[in-house]
Every structure is written in structure tokens, then in C-alpha cells.
């Protein structure tokens, strides 16, 4: 019987712990410096935001957990999460927070940071692209709908050129690669 097998000991937990030294302690400051995030560190994790959220039951990371993750420095996980993009921006969490943490606005900050790093879900990106290209989000494609209402097929006087021009110069234009 050989006892030479190297034993590394039993695992501490079945799931490997998150190594705090690999996280980004500056992330908290980074978010803190963004618009409406001054009260970020006031969070004491009461979970009021999660209780208020109409969609969090669909989420893997609940709103209070996302705030926790920001405070701990879990930059990658937060910025690549689907949750920040699925936020309905109903502002219920922000309205109810007992410590005046602007939760919804902080998720906006996260989305802006994520977008700057090119982490945008494809459906959101597609929306942005269509906005830049067509100057509007909802295009009237079925002209029979208008005909049924006794309207002429084309929307009279609709011109999106100016708005397209303006949008190209915005962050949205830049992020979706709206080169001329």
C-alpha cells in the first residue's frame, strides 16, 4: 500500500471560496465617483431593494447582492451580469431605500461602465444599432395597418435624418459602432 499520494486535505467547502485578493478593491471607489452613487457605501444590506423589486425573483443576483458585490469589488461579475440590463428602472428600490442609496441610478452607472468595456447584451446592442440606423425604435413596417385606418402608407413629414445625425455623435452612436 502506498502512502505517497499527495494529499491536499479535504476541501474547505464544496464550492471553492471567492478569493478576496483577486477582486478589485478600487471598483467600489470607481462606482462611488459616478453620478448619483455617493451613498453607495451607506448600504447596510437590509434587502429593502430586493423586496421592492418587481423582477428580482427572476434574477440570480438580487439587487442587494449586486450592491454587496460592488462593495466587495466583484467588478467582472457585476459588469457582465444580465441583471443590470434587465432592470425595469421602475425606481421602487431607490424610492424605498432607508439609507438613500440610489440603487437604480447605480445600476445605470454599471450599465454605462459595462458598455464602455463593450459588454452589452446582443439584444440591447441590436436596439441601439437600429436606433442609430433608422433614427427610431419602432418602424411602421406593415403599411396595411395604416391603410386599414384610411391613412396614407407613408408617415407624412417623417424625417429622421436630423435625429440620426445627432445620435451618431452620442455615446450610443460610439458604442454601437455607428461610423458614417
Amino acid at each position: 500500500m502506498t502512502e505517497t499520494e499527495e494529499r491536499t486535505g479535504p476541501p474547505e467547502t464544496l464550492i471553492e471560496p471567492i478569493d478576496m485578493s483577486k477582486l478589485d478593491p478600487k471598483f467600489r471607489k470607481e462606482i462611488h465617483s459616478m453620478p448619483n452613487a455617493e451613498e453607495l457605501s451607506a448600504c447596510f444590506a437590509c434587502t429593502t431593494c430586493t423586496a421592492a423589486c418587481p423582477i428580482a425573483n427572476q434574477w440570480n443576483y438580487k439587487p442587494h447582492q449586486l450592491i454587496r458585490m460592488i462593495l466587495l469589488g466583484m467588478r467582472e461579475e457585476v459588469l457582465s451580469s444580465k441583471e443590470i440590463w434587465e432592470c425595469l428602472t421602475c425606481f421602487q428600490c431607490q424610492e424605498r431605500c432607508p439609507q438613500k442609496v440610489k440603487v437604480t441610478d447605480i445600476f445605470f452607472d454599471c450599465k454605462n461602465l459595462a458598455a464602455e468595456e463593450g459588454i452589452i447584451p446582443p439584444n440591447v446592442l441590436a436596439l441601439g444599432k437600429s436606433l442609430i440606423e433608422k433614427g427610431q425604435l419602432y418602424e411602421v413596417l406593415n403599411d396595411w395597418e395604416r391603410e386599414d385606418l384610411d391613412l396614407e402608407a407613408e408617415v407624412p413629414g417623417l424625417n429622421t435624418d436630423t435625429i440620426k445625425e445627432i445620435l451618431r455623435g452620442t455615446r450610443t452612436g460610439r458604442l454601437v459602432g455607428g461610423e458614417k
Binding site: 474547505e12 467547502t13 471560496p17 471567492i18 478576496m20 451607506a42 448600504c43 444590506a45 447582492q65 462593495l71
Partner: protein
């Protein structure tokens, strides 16, 4: 003339009761088993809620002539107070308003009336120590278990002949009218809570030990260092409710440890360069107005992790690898930490149960309970027996002072 009042314990509560009784013309015998008065508060560094250093606690600056350190200097100067340090209660008998108390006074190795705190003995012998420059009585202390050659030399060379190494204990029996219990609390030494490694790993300490490290008057001059190697400690973790709210140790909430811990976390985060603090907690109970400590801590960047420590492992260079379960995230986190500080339960002091038994008092979780739980006189614990401060359960300083004054008022009313 009436018999004196006996005050047991010369901490915040006992000193307040003694000095206010004395100021009202009542004779007081103030007894403490230690050789320096001040109790736990002496080791707190900054005391909440005012963040004053206790040495300069100015709660009673109205007292003419003495502003700072007033209680402790009054203990010596007020003629109505007979201060007996190094003294324990051997026995209490008699009847209420006529108690007979047998005191055992430890050997007086250093006569505080003669000691001029020149420091000669401290230099030549390990057995002598100066607790602090502001200690009361103003004298060095002697530990007979550390007797060495230098001690004998110190005895001979002492310029005021204040040292007597072959001093003997003595006994004294007094008659007192009332007894005030002010024996305070004791911080549990959490050796039994073995998952944290206290008593095994040098870099695992308690909050009171941390207060000593942070105190500029303390042995390390206020440098935040690891006990194992004296290297600067930058990453600190605190764990709350060690032995408190735990049916295996003490079922009650020790009440002041949350604020205690936050006070230290704020000092480290705001006053020590690169100090990073994480607090692992089940609930943060900053009762009353102390909530501000919690908010300040969060603003200062103190990291709060709700959960418990899974395990603590010391690496070769004495760094602690700590795994924490974060119950809010439902994830396990691994930290590398220099110093783990346990917010240990505050327990009744040794010997209190005997006093409770002798006097036939009621108990509340090991502490002294009020005689009539339904009444609002929580300081009245028996016939002519009163209690104030930590002896009624963990208490902050203003609370102890208030209770002491309530006791004084009760005694004065009884004597009218």
C-alpha cells in the same frame, strides 16, 4: 454617626457612586481587588459615546479645581473616601443596614504614599511595572511571581523606601450600612470557541486586547502591529457575537460589543495608514444614538460581511487565511488577514456568584438582577444593597454613571 457605605469595585460606576456619596457627606469605603483603580474603562483607549480618552473623561468638569482625571484623583483626595486597593471581600454577614464585612487586603509591596514613580525599580526589575503615568493610586505595581535579583536591588535603592518585598496580607472587619455592588463585567477569554483559534494563534485577539494595542498610552505606543512578529497589521477582520447570543456560552446580547468594534474599526480606517477592516456579523446592534458609528464605519470604507467564519488557517508567515460564508451573497469568501479580532462576550466577573449567594440576591443571566423586577428601581437589588454599572449587565459609560447616581440618590433618601 452612621456607618459608612461599602462600594465594591472602583470602575466607572463605583468611583461615581463613591465620590458623589462622599461629596454629600457620607463616609465611603471603596474596595477594588486590583492595585490600580479605573476598571475596564482604563483599557478602552477612546470610550464611546464621546470618543474621549478615559483618562481625560470630562463628564463632571463642574467639580471645582479638578478637571481631568477627576474621579481618580478625588478617590485619593476626598477625605470621606477610604480607598482600599488590592482588597477582596472575604465574607459578608450581619443584617441590612448593619452588615459586617470581612476584607482581605493584599500585601502592600509598594506604599503609594511614598512612591514617587521615579522608575528606578522598573528599570532594574521585571517584577515592577507602571500601569500608566496617570494611574491611581500614583504608584508602581509589583508582581511577586516575577521576583528576580533586580527586585531586591530595587527595594534597597528605592529613594523613598517605598518598597517592602516581604509585606504580608492583612485582614480587616468593618461595619457598613449599605453595600453598593459595582464589580463590572469581564471580557470572556474565548478559548473554548475553538474555530477561531484564540489562545492558539497569536494573531487572534479580543476587542479589549485591540484597544490596548491602539492606545497611545499602551505597551506598543499605539502602533497597530501583529502580536506574532511585531509587523504592522494592515488587514484586520473582526467577528461579532463570539460567545454572546450563544446558548453554549452566554445566551444574552452583550450589548456594547457592536459599538465597541465599530469604534475600533473607525479608528483603524480613519487614523491608520492603509488600514483595511472587515467586520463579520450576524446583526449589527448599534442601539440608540450609536447608529452613527455604523454609518461612519460604512462611509470610512469598513467592509461588512453578514455571515460567519468557516475556518481560520495560519500560514507560514503568520498571515491568517480566513474563509467566510457571506449569507447575503450566498457565497464563500476567502480573506488574507493580519489580525483577527474577536468581539467576545462580556461575562459576570469572577466571584460575583458568591456575593449574590451570600446576600441572597436575584440573578439575571449570571449578573445581578433587580430585587423587584416589576419596579423601575433597577439599581435596588436587595435591602440596603444596590448595584450600578456592568454588574447589572454590560453597560456603556453614561449608563453606568446614571445608575451610580441613582444609587446615590436612593442611599441619600434612605438616610434623610
Amino acid at each position: 454617626m452612621s456607618d459608612p457605605v461599602l462600594v465594591i469595585g472602583a470602575g466607572v460606576a463605583g468611583m461615581t457612586a463613591a465620590v458623589e456619596l462622599a461629596d454629600n457627606g457620607v463616609q465611603v469605603v471603596l474596595v477594588d481587588r486590583k492595585s490600580t483603580i479605573g476598571g475596564n474603562a482604563l483599557n478602552l483607549y477612546k470610550a464611546f459615546p464621546t470618543d474621549d480618552c478615559f483618562y481625560c473623561f470630562e463628564g463632571n468638569r463642574w467639580r471645582p479645581g479638578i478637571r481631568k482625571c477627576f474621579y481618580r484623583s478625588a478617590m485619593i483626595d476626598q477625605p470621606n473616601i477610604e480607598l482600599m486597593t488590592n482588597t477582596i471581600i472575604q465574607d459578608i454577614s450581619g443584617t441590612p443596614s448593619k452588615f459586617t464585612v470581612k476584607l482581605v487586603i493584599g500585601p502592600q509591596y509598594v506604599d503609594p504614599k511614598k512612591c514617587i514613580m521615579c522608575g528606578l525599580c522598573v528599570e532594574v526589575s521585571e517584577a515592577f511595572a507602571l500601569e500608566s503615568p496617570q494611574c491611581q493610586p500614583q504608584a508602581v505595581t509589583y508582581d511577586p511571581s516575577k521576583l528576580d535579583e533586580g527586585a531586591k536591588k530595587a527595594e534597597q535603592d528605592c529613594p523613598t523606601k517605598a518598597i517592602s518585598l516581604d509585606a504580608n496580607p492583612s485582614e480587616k472587619t468593618i461595619t457598613v450600612s449599605d453595600i453598593v455592588l459595582a464589580t463590572g463585567y469581564h471580557e470572556m477569554q474565548p478559548v473554548a470557541v475553538d474555530e477561531y483559534g484564540y489562545g492558539v494563534l497569536q494573531n487572534v485577539i479580543t476587542q479589549l486586547e485591540l484597544a490596548r494595542i491602539l492606545d497611545p498610552n499602551g505597551p506598543l505606543g499605539g502602533r497597530l502591529v501583529r502580536p506574532s512578529d511585531g509587523r504592522e497589521a494592515k488587514r484586520i477582520m473582526m467577528i461579532q457575537c463570539v460567545g454572546s447570543r450563544d446558548e453554549n456560552y452566554y445566551p444574552f446580547c452583550s450589548k456594547i460589543c457592536c459599538v465597541f468594534a465599530l469604534k475600533h474599526a473607525n479608528i483603524i480606517a480613519n487614523e491608520r495608514a492603509d488600514g483595511r477592516v472587515s467586520v463579520v456579523y450576524m446583526d449589527i446592534r448599534t442601539y440608540d444614538r450609536h447608529e452613527r458609528y455604523y454609518r461612519e464605519a460604512r462611509e470610512a470604507g469598513v467592509e461588512f460581511v453578514r455571515g460567519r467564519i468557516s475556518r481560520v488557517v495560519s500560514t507560514e508567515d503568520d498571515t491568517l487565511e480566513i474563509t467566510v460564508y457571506d449569507s447575503l451573497l450566498d457565497k464563500y469568501l476567502r480573506f488574507s488577514i493580519d489580525l483577527l479580532v474577536l468581539s467576545s462576550a462580556l461575562e459576570p466577573p469572577e466571584g460575583l456568584d458568591e456575593i449574590i449567594k451570600t446576600l441572597g440576591l436575584k440573578t439575571a443571566s449570571g449578573y445581578v438582577g433587580p430585587a423587584d423586577a416589576a419596579s423601575e428601581d433597577e439599581v435596588v437589588v436587595g435591602e440596603h444593597v444596590y448595584a450600578c454599572g456592568g454588574v447589572l449587565g454590560p453597560a456603556e459609560i453614561p449608563e453606568s454613571v446614571n445608575q451610580a447616581r441613582a444609587v446615590v440618590s436612593k442611599i441619600l433618601q434612605g438616610r434623610k
